[in-house]
């Protein structure tokens, strides 16, 4: 590395060293810089752009004329937006709740030293590999009132069986829940299973020796220990629920009527189909605020815990 040079009176090495050092110090930042710049511009810059658009009077094309809170007033006076918010509440609560309940239930069953675990686990998980569009297409067919489940039940001899949720405006949102749960619950199961495998067996053995029943052990010891998994599952599912778009489009197209409108479909149709870009932007900002309220405290605590 170091070559021995004839040393002059004043060492000329110093500026060269510092230049090399500077390069060596700067290189990592130089490598990271493009990625960071991309995120800065295309994530944060674009978010600001969208926020700005929501304060303009944009219709079909962006117009940069200040419109104040007009778009927000119009957003919150749209009956459609209330339908979307209500649907998101129904979908979100049921989707998160049922996914966690079923995921935990299957994970507990799978944790009983099951023989065929290697066969069963992939069966519960494969829906997660599918596109929401594929899931929506498959369930649309499965729940088809004429030829799907209803017809099958009739063939089995249950003539009065009626299942028209897909075309029933009052029930259609629940078909979105069913398909969503089918797709994500296996993944929640995997999260819980990993959590269960991480629990110290000694504590459970001690409880068993004390005569605690299996149910009591799960209720009093194991489930409380799984709290971090509940939190992670909640965060993942909540942010998936707010972002859900493809599933609704493929399954119901937002209908019948506007029965399965969600904020995501609302944003898309107001921006690109109904020429109300400012209102669409305002709805996107509302979605962003919803996700931020969930994610930021979580990321903050995660990164801080890591620090200690």
């Amino acid at each position: 590395m170091t070559t021995i040079e004839p040393v002059p009176v004043v060492s000329p090495e110093r500026p060269r060293r510092s230049f090399a050092d500077g390069l060596r110090n700067g290189l990592p930042k130089l490598v990271l810089a493009p990625s960071f710049a991309i995120i800065l511009v295309f994530v944060y810059g674009f978010i600001l752009w969208t926020v700005y658009l929501s304060f303009t009077t944009s219709k079909m094309m962006p117009i940069y004329r200040w419109g104040g809170f007009d778009a927000y007033f119009r957003l919150w006076s749209q009956p459609n937006w209330y339908v979307a918010m209500q649907n998101l509440a129904i979908f979100g609560v049921l989707y998160i709740g049922i996914c966690i309940a079923i995921g935990l239930f299957i994970a507990i069953l799978m944790d009983q030293r099951i023989r065929a675990e290697g066969v069963l686990r992939p069966i519960f998980l494969y829906p997660m590999a599918l596109s929401f569009v594929v899931t929506g297409t498959a369930w649309k067919w499965f729940l088809n009132p004429g030829l799907g489940l209803e017809n099958t039940m009739h063939n089995l001899g249950w003539a009065s069986f009626k299942f028209d949720w897909l075309v029933n405006p009052n029930m259609a949102i629940y078909t979105v829940v069913i398909a969503g749960v089918w797709q994500a619950s296996g993944f929640v199961m995997a999260m819980f299973l990993a959590g269960l495998r991480g629990i110290d067996g000694e504590m459970i053995k001690a409880a068993q020796i004390d005569g605690a029943s299996t149910v009591a052990i799960y209720r009093r010891i194991i489930i409380p220990l799984l709290r971090p998994v509940f939190l992670s599952a909640f965060i993942v599912l909540a942010h998936m629920a707010i972002k859900s778009y493809d599933l609704v489009i493929a399954l119901t197209g937002g209908g019948p009527g506007n029965a399965t409108e969600l904020p995501s479909t609302f944003m898309y149709s107001y921006t690109f189909n109904r020429n109300q870009m400012a209102v669409g932007s305002a709805s996107a900002v509302m979605m962003l605020m919803g996700i931020t309220a969930i994610i930021v405290p979580y990321l903050y605590s995660e990164l801080r815990e890591k620090n200690q």
Binding site: P28, I38, G45, W49, L109, V134, A138, G148, A190, M287
Partner: protein
Amino acid sequence: MSGATETVSAGSARTARYFIYAALIVLALVYLLPLYVMLTTSLKSLDEIRGGDMLALPKDPSVAAWVKAWGEACIGVSCVGIKGYFWNSLKMVVPAVAISTLLGALNGYVLTKWRFPGHKIVFGMMLFACFIPFQAVLIPMARLLGAAGLSNSTAGLVFVHVVYGLGFTTLFFRNYYEAFPDELVKAAMIDGAGFFRIFWRIMLPTSGPIIVVTVIYQFTNIWNDFLFGVSFSSGEASPMTVALNNLVSSSTGVKEYNVDMAAAVFAALPTLFVYVVAGRYFVRGLMAGAVKG
């Protein structure tokens, strides 16, 4: 304690085990049902679908619907099947996965082994970018792609997927390299190895598992994407998911359920294949995205 209670508990333990297996088998069948129905429907004729039972096996299995979905089905006005869209997706996925994975590896390397003041804020900002609803960047991105002449092109979609995949790939590699011993990197530095030399010779050769996880995660995410595809492309430049949705939701002509299902199978095949081949890594990737370390 006493013999009697022991046999009772052994008996009830056995019933409990029967219950567990029965419940798991029923649940597994429920999870498999939509896939089963999708596959069998795609192998039936239209008459059999209309007259028969969804759950029945095809009487006379035929791949006619598959052939039609691949090469003849009408999407929009062109009746050339989904094969073109399948290739569109593939041409989009491969470069997008490769570029975002490589950049993620470099970022993770810098953020763990060449830390600088503020590295935490940089990482936090990249992490948050993983979670934003894409609706919040949709309009500006549409404007930008339009201005750059990239709308309705595969290159535009590759760019979009690289940009919004960077957060995840960086997260994966950062968490993996975090556990990589600093001493090895320091020793290499003392031996005179530079930034890139350490990356190529020391970090990358040990990154096999995380590369697999990242590639699988990115592949499934980008292949399955619908929102970007439908927003930034149309007609023959669309990716597979958009074409599938157009095919299934079109209301003109006779509804050919078997062709719809065959097209859905085509859309599902690549990700299912990846999942079957590397399922273990697939789960790990999902978990890494969910539970940050």
